[in-house]
């Protein structure tokens, strides 16, 4: 050992240090302050600033040396604060201050040395020529773009000949390492700074070459941008600063892409879509005018964690804009430089953005420039109305033809024409371009790899009947890759593809599971607590604020503590092994880890305990990062005290921890489907294929539902054939039992264990319920529907066209939104625009001489349906817009129907005579919806459609466990969407039914019937109906239903309820422990 250490003195105190260490290293370790400026840990000591001078006596000579580069030697005497040292440093500080008289860092360090003025002539340089930047550029980055030129006082850092540097790679390392912030904006390279835009912030913020892509990235780890990292750019051992500084040694430059082969039974493609690049629309000025931004950028601007902390701010000058314009259909519904389809989402997100913008800043005046407001989703129209009426959002039906910047102001002049042709220029302070979706650049290659066919736009080919199946069996597609759609549909289709794939893989289910073998749990009951305490540095996250060693010191002698130490990263794999070993070695029976956050890390440590044979509830985590170090940065003393308090409080609880048993209940592997339409049948088939028994309960006498009246899809597919084949499949399936002409009488039990009795008296057990009770068509009363057989509905027209093709010379007028988008049914029925266009195309294809005019409010051919809208126009179908305030007037006049309406383009009223008036009637909820709702306590919305648990995140789940929904019972939708949702319900229900048993959390309320007074407080407050009145008339507790929320424990006057793991004695012990600590929380 003596060979590796040296003994010497610092300020006459004997010190033993590692050989090879410098005086500065040792002094820092001993907390002896030595000022430095030009020193940096990752660089060779330059010794140029001369601030770190100390006196050294060696070999009989005493002299001044720079401590940063002087290796300690046996027997030397080091003095860090002699009169000469102090005086010399002062003079150096005065010289530095003279050179850099206005530099904050120099002023700061000079002040630390007691120097606030300088007797010498002042200059205002920032660079003190320490050379760290040059060293960095040459030695670390291996670039050599900057260097010193000139001698003596002429010396400066620059590029060769002070010229633009071809060599500089703009890595910014020079700027980073400069101790006096003298290098800004890469001033030395002559290059304009082009920092990497942070992709997640849509380039409104910048990022480094090592970055966590976004706050919820999985895995939530930083990665290196190889395209820009100097190491990979320059090659060899360039830079590497990250690996030198990472205390965990986590940097591995050798890591790269790995090719793996997987055997799978199904392939699900969900690569999503790319976004349209608005720069292609040069006239809108995106990329040229800084205050023209994309909608995605605006999304980030609105985000509280975004580049401007949620303040609506112009990127150009940081001002808060008042007048903001949104321009719709940028990159969508446009054959020129853009995409022909409708992206389906932009109308709603623009509306949402205007509303949120107004909520952030009520001075904002939003205007949306649009062609058609496609608010076709569930409750979307109501939302748009609210935007208009409550938030004052102005909807301007116009396309903007050009945007230019107003010189000097950064404001933008928008040119557009009104419907009547009047051209206007209007000034806005910011413009948001609502950009649409488009397939990824490599979509063709991607499809080729997967072996699937695509349509002309490179979306995968799917059918209305099988929306998640690609052209290749076993390869599924889902999400917006399948076609543009909003979040609810995407989530729904995500579940649908799971349902579809599970049906395919039904037989193989469970065959690849490897059960983890765990040691038996040790019985620790009755043992005195033997607690292991591990205090984590969390790298620098905790340790830079909290003195973790001192926390260990403060806690190690507390009662119950058998082992106490600090660890660099408690969550690392090797620390887990260490904890297991120490549990074994010291016979620990409880563990406390003081670290980051229980939210993500408690399960990890619990698993470690379980691996070591301890019940997982014998663990507790003391949060000293998020509740201490992060919120008390810079207050080391107080934070250390608080951390100690937190650990001691947690320890008090840990000493009182007891093992908790986790129960489980069996699951009946069967489902009941209410409704035998397309939705019900699709769900049933998928679940049955997964291997579960299915009961279809259909109140009508036959299967098929509303689809029985539909003949063609928009793309011309035969719906009747599809319905028939579905019915045949259902009837033939051995696992499906169809109950026709009956309804549910009642259902008992709970999730996984239902028992249903039908009106015919039959009963069966099942684990899940899918409500697919469907909807009905609206029967119109308006537009003289009942006055003439020339006035029919679209459905009636469709049926007639099947047998009676249209004839040349006939004139058809269609009126949209009949019974929709108006109170009392103020929602879009979603199907009518397509039905009208479908029928119009059919008429024009059969009889080009026939005339078709469609009176509409907004044509809502969303997604790829837009093609048919275009086709209809190409075929010569007339589209005339009407407004809800100026609805068409209809009059039956002999053989003809006379229709009057206001034409906004002509700016006057027009009238026409038609042979047929076709009313596009909407959808309504099924009359049974209300009944079923009441039966199962399921919430309905204002339009009496079932309400999902969460419109975006859980669109097919009911709030109640074990119940799911599909089809029109949820909301109006197209056939393909119904199929998707039905598959989704099968997917969701399948997940539930696949469990042999359901684990019930150990953290539940325990009821002590002996001391319960049956006051019913718990019964009333429990949101999960778990307390019940038993056969004795007293309160009992159904633990299976209990979610452990603790309301009962809080309200029970007798304290008959105690929540496992949060028992009163545990909480009180924590409170007592805090009381013991005199330290007030900072």
């Amino acid at each position: 050992m003596s060979e590796e250490t040296v003994t010497f003195t610092i300020n006459d105190e004997e010190v033993v240090a590692k050989k090879g260490a410098t005086i500065l290293d040792v002094a820092r370790e001993k907390n002896i302050w030595i000022p430095t400026l030009c020193f940096h840990e990752s660089m060779e000591p330059e010794g140029s600033c001369r601030l770190c001078l100390v006196e050294v006596e060696a070999f009989g000579r005493r002299r001044m040396v720079t401590s940063c580069g002087y290796p300690v030697e046996d027997g030397i005497k080091v003095y860090t604060d002699t009169e000469q040292v102090v005086e010399s440093r002062k003079v150096v500080a005065e010289l530095l201050l003279a050179r850099c008289s206005e530099n904050e860092k120099i002023i700061e360090i000079a002040a630390k040395l007691g120097v606030d003025t300088t007797p010498f002539t002042k200059k205002t340089e920032d660079c003190m020529l320490c050379g760290l930047c040059v060293q960095m550029c040459h030695q670390k980055m291996k670039i050599g773009a900057i260097g010193f030129v000139g001698r003596g006082s002429e010396r400066k850092v620059t590029t060769p000949y002070d010229k633009y540097s071809q060599t500089c790679i703009n890595c910014g390392a020079c700027e980073l390492i400069c101790p006096t912030n003298a290098i800004t904006a890469f001033g030395n390279s002559g290059k304009k700074p082009v920092p990497h835009g942070k992709e997640f912030e849509e380039n409104l913020a910048t990022r480094g070459n090592i970055d966590i892509p976004f706050p919820s990235a999985v895995p939530l780890l930083p990665s290196i941008d190889r395209e820009n990292c100097v190491r990979f750019q320059v090659g060899g051992d360039a830079c590497g600063v990250c690996s030198e500084t990472c205390p965990a040694g986590a940097i591995d430059f050798a890591q790269g892409d790995v090719e793996r082969e997987l055997d799978v039974g199904a392939l699900i493609l969900c690569p999503g879509l790319d976004r349209y690049d608005a720069r292609a629309r040069g006239e809108l000025g995106f990329g040229r005018w800084p205050n023209v931004i994309s909608s995605i950028q605006f999304e980030r601007i609105l985000s509280a964690s975004g580049p401007y902390q949620g303040h609506v701010t112009r990127p150009g000058d940081g001002k808060h804009p008042r007048k903001i314009a949104w321009i719709q259909c940028v990159g969508s519904r446009d054959n020129h430089n853009a995409n022909p389809w409708c992206s389906s989402v932009c109308c709603m997100y623009a509306t949402k953005q205007t509303v949120i913008a107004r909520e952030h800043d009520s001075n904002i005046e939003p205007t949306i420039f649009y062609m058609e407001m496609r608010a076709f989703g569930k409750e979307f129209d109501r939302y748009v109305d609210r935007a208009k009426n409550e938030y004052g959002v102005r909807y301007q039906r116009a396309m903007v033809s050009a945007i230019r910047e107003e010189p000097g102001t950064g404001n933008l002049v928008l040119r557009y024409s009104k419907e009547n042709g009047e051209v206007l220029d209007e000034v806005f302070e910011m413009v948001v371009l609502s950009v649409g979706f488009q397939p990824h650049e490599d979509a063709k290659e991607f499809a080729k790899i997967a072996g699937i066919e695509t349509n002309e736009y490179l979306f995968p080919k799917t059918s209305q009947f099988k929306p998640v199946e690609s052209s290749r069996p076993g390869v599924f597609v889902t999400g917006i890759y399948q076609g543009p759609k909003d979040i609810p549909e995407t989530v729904m289709q995500g579940s649908a593809v799971a349902g579809g794939a599970m049906a395919l893989l039904g037989e193989a289910r469970g065959t690849e599971i490897i059960e983890k073998e765990l040691p038996p749990e040790k019985d620790i009951v009755g043992e005195d607590p033997r607690v292991g305490v591990f205090v984590c540095h969390c790298g620098i996250n905790i340790a830079s604020t909290v003195d973790v060693a001192r926390v260990v010191e403060n806690v190690k002698d507390e009662p119950g503590v058998c082992h106490c130490e600090n660890v660099l990263y408690a969550c690392s794999q090797d620390t887990q092994e260490k904890i297991k070993a120490i549990i074994e070695e010291k016979k620990l029976n409880r563990v406390l880890v003081a670290s980051c956050t229980p939210r993500t890390h408690t399960p990890l440590f619990q698993e470690t305990l379980r691996d070591a044979g301890l019940n997982k509830y014998l663990f507790e985590l003391a949060d000293i990062r998020e509740q201490c170090s992060w919120c008390h940065m810079g207050k080391r003393e107080e934070a250390t005290k608080k951390a100690t308090t937190i650990v001691k409080m947690t320890l008090a609880k840990v000493n009182n921890l007891q093992p908790v048993r986790t129960d489980s209940v069996q699951v009946t592997p069967a489902a009941m489907i209410i409704g035998g339409g397309i939705a019900g049948m699709t769900t049933s088939l998928a679940l049955a294929d997964q291997g579960y028994d299915v009961h279809i309960v259909e109140q009508a006498g036959k299967l098929g539902g509303l689809a029985l009246g539909v003949y063609r899809t928009l793309d011309g597919s035969d719906v009747q054939a599809f319905v028939k084949s579905r019915i045949a499949e259902v009837e033939a399936h051995p696992r499906i039992k169809v109950h026709l002409g009956v309804q549910v009488k009642n259902t008992d039990g709970f999730v996984g264990n239902f028992k249903t009795t039908l009106t015919d008296g039959s009963s069966f057990e099942h684990g899940a319920i899918v409500v697919a009770s469907g909807g009905v068509e609206y029967e119109p009363t308006e537009y003289c529907y009942n006055d003439s057989d020339k006035i029919i509905t679209q459905r009636e027209l469709e049926k007639r066209l099947e047998s009676e093709p249209a004839k040349s010379g006939e004139s058809y007028v269609m009126i949209q939104c009949v019974g929709s988008r108006e109170e009392p049914a103020n929602y879009c029925s979603r199907v009518c625009c397509q039905d009208a266009i479908k029928n119009a195309i059919r008429i024009k294809e059969n009889a080009p001489g026939a005339q078709v005019t469609i009176l509409y409010r907004d044509i809502r051919t969303y997604g790829l349906r837009e093609d048919y809208y275009k086709r209809a126009r190409d075929l010569g179908v007339f589209f005339i817009r009407y407004d809800v305030d100026k609805k068409p007037e209809v009059e039956v006049s002999g053989d003809k129907i006379k229709i009057k309406t206001f034409d906004y383009m002509l700016d006057r009223e027009i009238s026409m005579a038609a042979d047929h008036l076709v009313l596009s009637t909407g959808l309504r909820p099924h009359p049974l919806t209300d009944k079923i709702g009441k039966q199962y306590k399921l919430t309905r919305n204002a339009d009496v459609y079932f309400l999902e648990a969460h419109p975006k995140l859980r669109p097919v789940d009911f709030a109640s466990e074990g119940l799911f929904m599909a089809g029109l019972a949820h909301a109006p939708k197209n056939l393909d969407e119904t199929v998707s949702q039905a598959l989704a319900a099968a997917g969701r229900a399948g997940v539930l039914l696949s469990h042999v048993s359901l684990a019930v959390s150990g953290v539940i309320s325990k009821h002590n019937r002996d001391i319960c007074m049956s006051c019913l407080s718990c019964f009333r407050i429990c949101p999960f109906d778990s307390p019940y009145i038993d056969e004795d008339g007293k309160v009992s507790h159904n633990e299976v239903k209990c979610m452990g929320c603790g309301l009962c424990a809080g309200i029970c006057p007798a304290k008959a309820f105690q929540v496992n793991y949060f028992r009163d004695d545990q909480i009180l012990a924590m409170v007592d422990a805090y009381g013991d600590e005199i330290c007030p929380l900072p």
Binding site: Q84, F120, R155
Partner: protein, 624 residues
């Protein structure tokens, strides 16, 4: 040419060369050192050759050029042997006549050309012989032993005078013995710091790592100093031989070693003569593989520096050799352990190496006996300034300043009063008259606030302003500071600024104290020797001539009459004869007056150029 394989072959070669020479052969040597060359010695040599040919003496009289004799003040120097007659200032005024008469004097019975003899300024007597001239008589030439005697381009001349004999002797010793000899001799580095050469070699020998490097620091940078240049020009083989011995002492029997000579490109003749010498040494087998038949191998590369003063600092020099900017670095690690290319390296200067062969040859005791305690041997000084005989002088260590300035230098020009001598160049300090008997030793000079340095010696008379001297040297170091470390870069700049101000009559109360405080701090905190010694001229002048500083600051007066802002010229009407020379020479027509009447000087027009004062034969121009 077959390389020499052993001592016997060397001896026989020397014998052959000496045998081929006639001691009575008439020989004319013309100094071709840079000093004489600039005074026209090349023309003298050419004219002599022509004249000899014309006189039909071709072949009968040998004509050769040599290195510097040191008496540069009196160049071009021509010596006629074997009579040992020294002619000085040959051809300065009348080239043809001088040459003709010298050739004529060679005739049997002809008298030497007396008018070209050196005339003692005091006794006014002409001195014919080299040895009798006080300038030479009082010197002890060890490092300069061959200078002015041999033709530096001819290795045979060197060998004839015993050259490479010391190498042969050294190769028969063990490296340890050589190091012991060197240590015993108390030879100390002639470049400045005066570190014991033997010890330095020993450090390097003990260091681990190969190849090792031995470097000759020939980056002589002090203004006015040219001893190293003269040695390289006049006797390059002595340096090579010294390096060879050093290389053997450091790495002999251990592993490979490579030599470098780092010479400034501003010394073209030195580069040329060294290049020639290296080539010759290689041909004779003194350099290369298996030197003199031993298993010791060594070679030397010549590295031309661009002339930065700081490159004389060893770490900066090594950086420069490596191809990096010549910037010093912190020590440790010391070059002996981690030097050139990160390998153990040893650096000595030219004069040090030149002395080595003599020590090996004549033994350490002899060398020690030449000097005084711990200061063995001789030191070459370049004696310049207001002294009569400027030039290179080599004296035993411990010789007094008085002996050098008055004994050899012949006193102060114009009979003026000696004021001080500045030694050690920009890194050195001023020694005042009160210390004129100070023996020239490393310790003595250090105590007096100066340094030995490389041997610059500037004599200063009463008409010199000491503040101006300090200002001059500070200007030099601010320009030559590499700028790496803060105190040297920034501190010297501020010191210079203050001195400029004082010289401009804008000195303030407290300036002297600031200079002292700053100077001490710069000395204590600078990274390398340049900065550490940069304040010496200022601090030593403040120490010995504080009154002059005070006169500048408080009385706004320059006692030396140098600082223009503080002086006025006036014509003494009593002394003025009205000759009008002053008026004619005044560039700004500030002087007027009637013929033969005392003239007047208009102070408002005067730019203080001093032309009038210089030209006035009657001392009528007076500085107030």
């Amino acid at each position: 040419m077959e390389p020499i394989k052993n001592l016997e072959e060397l001896q026989s070669l020397r014998d052959r060369i000496v045998a081929g020479r006639d001691e009575n052969q008439l020989l004319i040597t013309v100094c071709a050192g840079t000093g004489c060359l600039s005074n026209g010695s090349a023309k003298v040599a050419a004219a002599l050759k022509e004249e000899l040919d014309a006189a039909g003496l071709k072949g009968r009289v040998e004509l050769k050029t040599t290195g510097c004799h040191g008496f540069c003040e009196r160049g071009p120097i021509v010596v006629v042997e074997p009579a040992g007659i020294l002619y000085q200032a040959v051809g300065r005024k009348k080239l043809e006549k001088d040459v003709k008469e010298i050739v004529e004097s060679l005739a049997e019975g002809a008298e030497p050309v007396e008018r070209l003899f050196y005339k003692d300024p005091e006794t006014k007597k002409s001195i014919r012989g080299y040895e009798e001239i006080p300038f030479y008589a009082k010197q002890k030439r060890v490092a300069l032993r061959n200078n002015g005697i041999i033709d530096p381009t001819r290795i045979e001349d060197f060998i004839a005078r015993g050259g490479y004999g010391a190498l042969a002797k050294a190769l028969q010793m063990t490296p340890e013995e050589i190091i012991a000899t060197l240590k015993e001799s108390t030879l100390r580095g002639r470049g400045g710091a005066g570190f014991l050469t033997g010890q330095k070699w020993e450090f390097c020998r003990r260091a681990e790592g190969f190849p090792k490097y031995i470097i000759c620091n020939a980056d002589e940078g002090d203004p006015g100093a040219f001893m190293d240049r003269s040695i390289m020009e006049g006797d390059p083989h002595s340096v090579i031989e010294g390096m060879l011995i050093g290389a053997y002492a450091i790495a002999g029997g251990q592993g490979p070693i490579q030599g470098y000579v780092y010479v400034r490109a501003e010394y073209p003749l030195a580069v040329q003569n060294l290049t020639t010498a290296l080539k010759q040494a290689k041909e004779y087998g003194f350099l290369g593989e298996n030197i003199l038949g031993t298993d010791f191998s060594f070679d030397i590369k010549l590295n031309k520096g661009a002339g930065a003063f700081v490159c004389g600092e060893e770490t900066a020099l090594m950086a420069s050799v490596e191809g990096r900017p010549g910037l010093p670095r912190t020590r440790p690690p010391f070059p002996a352990n981690k030097g050139l290319f990160g390998k153990p390296s040893n650096i000595n200067n030219v004069e040090t190496f030149a002395a080595v062969p003599v020590i090996v040859d004549r033994g350490p005791d002899w060398f020690k006996s030449v000097g005084v305690d711990r200061n063995g041997g001789t030191k070459v000084f370049s004696l310049v300034g207001k002294v009569n005989n400027t030039g290179l002088v080599e004296v035993p260590m411990g010789t007094s300043i008085r002996e050098v300035v008055f004994g050899i230098g012949g006193g102060i020009q114009g009979g003026k009063k000696f004021k001080a001598v500045q030694t050690g160049g920009p890194s050195g300090g001023c020694i005042p008259e009160s210390l004129i008997d100070l023996p020239l030793t490393y310790e003595g000079l250090m105590e007096a606030g100066s340094i030995m340095g490389s041997g610059g010696m500037i004599v200063v008379d009463e008409e010199t302003c000491m503040v101006d001297v300090a200002r001059y040297f500070l200007k030099f170091v601010t320009e030559e500071s590499c700028g790496k470390c803060v105190p040297c870069r920034e501190g010297t700049k501020h010191m210079h600024e203050i001195l400029e101000r004082i010289c401009a009559g804008e000195g303030k109360e407290g300036d002297i104290e600031t200079l002292e405080r700053l100077g001490k701090a710069i000395a204590a905190t600078s990274l390398c020797g340049l900065g550490q010694t940069a304040p010496n001229p200022t601090l030593s002048t403040i120490k010995y001539f504080r009154d002059e500083y005070e006169a500048h600051i408080k009385d706004k007066r320059c006692p030396g009459g140098v600082c223009k802002a503080l002086i006025t010229y006036r014509i003494d009407p009593d002394a003025c004869t009205g000759c009008g020379v002053c008026a004619r020479n005044c560039p700004v027509e500030a002087i007027s007056g009637e013929k033969k009447q005392p003239h007047q000087l208009d102070a408002s027009k005067c730019v203080k150029c001093g032309a009038c004062r210089e030209k006035c034969k009657f001392g009528a121009v007076i500085i107030d």
